[in-house]
């Protein structure tokens, strides 16, 4: 953000803020969000397994068979496929709003709110487009 003058400092030293600030953050998101999604999927399935077998009469075998029948590899693949794009959108929106923040702490708060709203909206739109695209492909 420009509020703390760090971006001005980068400019004044001849550094390109996009190369120094935006690209590393977007790259980190594109790499880590799919990994986090995969971890989230595993935890959700494991948590479902524990909750179901502890809280109900369903046997572990029945849970595994039922889950295997309901979720295919294509579901996991389609879920992971879009995550780098979602990560890139979130990263670009957050960095764009951060770079545009001027005028003190109030501006930082306003830009943070804008970034969250825009990021949520972009995640919904991109997810919808992927769903449409994958449905057309029959995945």
């Amino acid at each position: 953000m420009r509020v703390s003058e760090v971006i001005y400092a980068l400019h004044s030293m001849g550094f390109d803020p996009v190369r120094w600030l935006v690209i590393p953050r977007c790259l980190a998101l594109v790499i880590t969000v799919p990994i986090l999604t995969w971890i989230g999927d595993v935890l959700a399935l494991g948590g479902g397994f524990l909750a179901t077998t502890i809280a109900s009469d369903l046997t572990p075998r029945a849970y595994i068979l039922g889950t295997s029948a309901a979720i295919s590899g294509a579901d996991l693949f389609s879920g992971l496929l879009k995550t780098p794009f979602l990560a890139l959108a979130v990263g670009l929106i957050a960095c764009g709003q951060g770079l545009a923040a001027r005028g003190g702490a109030t501006a930082v708060g306003a830009r943070t709110t804008s970034a969250v709203v825009l990021a949520i909206f972009s995640v919904i739109v991109i997810s919808a487009l992927f769903t449409l695209f994958l449905t057309l492909l029959g995945v």
Partner: protein, 254 residues
């Protein structure tokens, strides 16, 4: 390039945003090896003018020419000048030594022990030799500013810009910083442009000054700050240097 030519020439500068003009007809020159103070009240555009001088903004009209740089906003590569921002603008996740090493290792082939030695020399110069491994969050505001000066000097520029270096500092830290600025200017011959409204700093470090006024949208006075204090008949300038309120004369107060 002859050394007698001005280090910075500003001619008929007009700056602003959209249709709003912040200041116009701004012309001045900064002689090599001198310290120019940009003065004015809050909101007069001092820091904004500085941003134009260091090329962060493109002027609406007019010309800024820095010797060896040309138009600063069009300059590509490593600017041959250093800038101290009001907050110090150090990178919070890097130690002071790493902050100082960044421009050096990015723009030169200096690495390893020699880089560490040069960084240490600059930290010693600003009195922070013992704080090389501290993070910016672990030192005081005055120390951050001194570290910012050291970083601005890492590539040995002959021109430095300071944005309100004494702002927010206690009197002792402010005087120490002023003395450091004097050392840089008088002992090392560095040209300095300093934005401030701290009167003690102005009289201690500035050879020359320009006074900005937001009502006039430009420069209302130019010259030696001591002479302006003693001789200027412009009400705003007189009030500025004598810390008088505009209504003081009418009420008989100071």
């Amino acid at each position: 390039m002859p050394t007698s030519s001005p280090h910075i020439v500003v001619e008929d500068l007009r700056i602003g945003w959209g249709t709003r003009i912040l200041m116009e007809h701004v012309s001045f020159a900064v002689e090599r090896g001198t310290t120019l103070a940009i003065l004015g009240g809050s909101g007069s555009g001092k820091s904004t003018l500085l941003r134009y001088l260091i090329g962060l903004e493109r002027p609406m009209a007019g010309r800024i020419d820095i010797d060896g740089v040309g138009e600063p906003h069009a300059y590509e590569g490593v600017p041959p000048y250093g800038v101290l921002f009001q907050s110090g603008a150090l990178f919070s996740s890097l130690t002071l030594a790493e902050n100082l090493a960044l421009p050096l290792t990015t723009w030169t082939n200096v690495r390893g022990p020699l880089a560490r030695e040069l960084v240490q020399a600059k930290l010693d110069l600003v009195g922070l030799g013992a704080f090389a491994e501290h993070l910016p969050g672990e030192i005081s505001g005055g120390m951050k500013k001194r570290a910012g000066i050291a970083r601005a000097m890492m590539l040995e520029p002959d021109l430095l810009f300071f944005d309100e270096p004494s702002a927010g500092l206690d009197p002792i830290s402010a005087v120490e910083l002023d003395q450091l600025i004097n050392t840089l200017s008088r002992d090392l011959g560095i040209t300095i442009v300093i934005v401030t409204h701290e009167l003690p700093s102005i009289f201690l470090v500035a050879d020359d000054c320009i006074v900005l006024d937001k009502e006039a949208k430009g420069i209302v006075a130019r010259g030696d700050p001591r002479r302006l204090r003693d001789e200027s008949e412009i009400p705003f300038v007189h009030n500025f240097f004598t810390r008088s309120s505009p209504g003081a004369a009418a009420t008989g107060g100071r």
